[in-house]
């Protein structure tokens, strides 16, 4: 499958990656090869087959509506690359 510049830009934008020109060329080639290989799947007749996301029919596993957690902010913020006033800090978001 031929991967266009447009496609590679689209998928890298979706994945939030910025690729250097040479990376982009390599990604185009690799993705093309991989998708060509994956397209082999199309040979298999799957008409009338239900898509299966879980291999076994597990269902209805729930928890009860009970509060079990307490404030643990200090622990949760320990890994934050940048924090302020008990919050995670990011560049300004504009709507």
């Amino acid at each position: 499958m031929e991967i266009t510049d447009q496609t590679i830009e689209y998928v890298s934008a979706l994945a939030k990656l910025s690729l250097q020109p040479e990376e982009k060329e390599k990604a185009k080639k690799d993705l093309g090869n991989i998708l060509t290989y994956i397209d082999m799947m199309k040979e298999l007749d799957t008409d009338g087959i239900e898509p299966m996301s879980h291999a076994f029919s597990m269902k209805n596993v729930f928890r009860d509506d009970v509060v079990t957690n307490e404030d643990n902010r200090e622990e949760l913020l320990k890994n934050a690359p940048k924090q302020k006033d008990g919050c995670f800090m990011v560049p300004k978001t504009v709507d």
Binding site: Y10, A13, L14, K16, S53, H54, M58, K59, N60, V61, F62, R63, D64, D65, V66, V67, T68, N69, D71, N72, R73, L76, L77, K84, D85, G86, C87, F88, M89, V90, P91, K92, T93, V94, D95
Partner: protein, 478 residues
Amino acid sequence: MKAYETVIGLEVHVELATKSKIFCGCTTQFGGEVNTHCCPVCMGMPGTLPVLNKKVVEFAIAAGLALNCEITRNCKFDRKNYFYPDLPKAYQVSQLYLPICRNGSIDIEVDGVKKSIGIHEIHMEEDAGKLVHDPWEDCTLVDYNRCGVPLIEIVSEPDMRSAEEVIAYLEKLKLILQYLGVSDCKMQEGSLRADINLSIREVGATEFGTRTEMKNMNSFKAIARAIEGERKRQIEVLEYGKKVIQETRRWDDNKDTSFAMRSKEDAQDYRYFPEPDLVPIEISEEWLTEIKRREPELRDAKMLRYVKEYEIPEYDAGIITGSKNLADIFEATVALCNKPKEVSNWIMVETMRLLKESEQEVEELKLSPAKFASLIELIDAGKINRTIAKEVFEQIFKSDVDPKTYIEEHGLGMVSDDGLLRSTIENILKENEQSVSDYKNGKEKAFGFLVGQTMKVMKGKANPSVINEILRELLSKV
């Protein structure tokens, strides 16, 4: 100008009234210090997994049943993928392919005209966190307290044609959800949020026009204004021969106008796929029956019952049941004092007056049924008269005082003491000979004056029927 018709559909997000979040044991309580209602699961830390809160499913089913929906017997969750700092996993667990409820409807009434509004679907999902702008460092701070609070999104059909219909729909929806106990629907706390899809078409057209979506509405009034504003804007666009662009707009209620939201850097491609960390939900007939059986009395049924069982006027029953909070206070108070008419009167007159004076919403009203009932019992037992009762009620309303204690502390108990009243009245008769003779000459008005004088001396606390009795007796002897 041509005649236009406004076509409106709503997406209403409702935060469910569960104690804990949808996928973890964190509290859903509103407020709280930033990031203190969080855990590794709702913060999407590596390796953590969601565990579905059963109550969320039951609330969604209850809402679906009350909104006349078909319940999807085999439903599951999907992931909606997008990057934003308020979404810690960079995907929202939601439902796309098999939402839990579909094809419902509710009836509304505007100006005496009845109409059915279709419900396209209801799906379950998790709420996102909150972003706060920090002006000092010109950055954004992220608080995940609301992240993972369970939501249902109720998507209507584009069946509404005016702001009045939208408000009627929202009010009806709100009452149903509140009566079900599914949500408190507090708009000011964000537990009921509406996105408005609006388009314009010429009257008689069969195709829909291009719609815009408006977000950021936090009150019914703002919604009504936003609809009016956007309707006008779209008509203007069309009248100028231009085309309405499909976009998301943000309503700014202060400026009374909407703005196109900056289009996100890349196309919205949410790449939904089945959530592999959660197993499917199978809803059995028994489970449905059980949820239906547990359904509380809803507004319409309650109103009828008030009229029939308590014999209160239909109008009053309508006002009281028009707020779940008010109806709860009413019923709890009646349960304690067993005087429905009396309770209803206090609500209809004094409560409404005080609410209006204090500019309070009826949903915010906090009135202790125990104290309310105790006040009514005190009146009934002749411990205080009605004038004093009004004062005490106001104190209960404003400061949650205990009526008995308040009356004692302020010496407001009614005086029925025969000796004290008799000597007081004897003095009054001496001081008001003219009135006495007027009475003797058949002027009944003079009697009222003498009662009033007695009350004045007694600082309003005297038992009026005892005054009457003694006064008539003493006057007959003059």
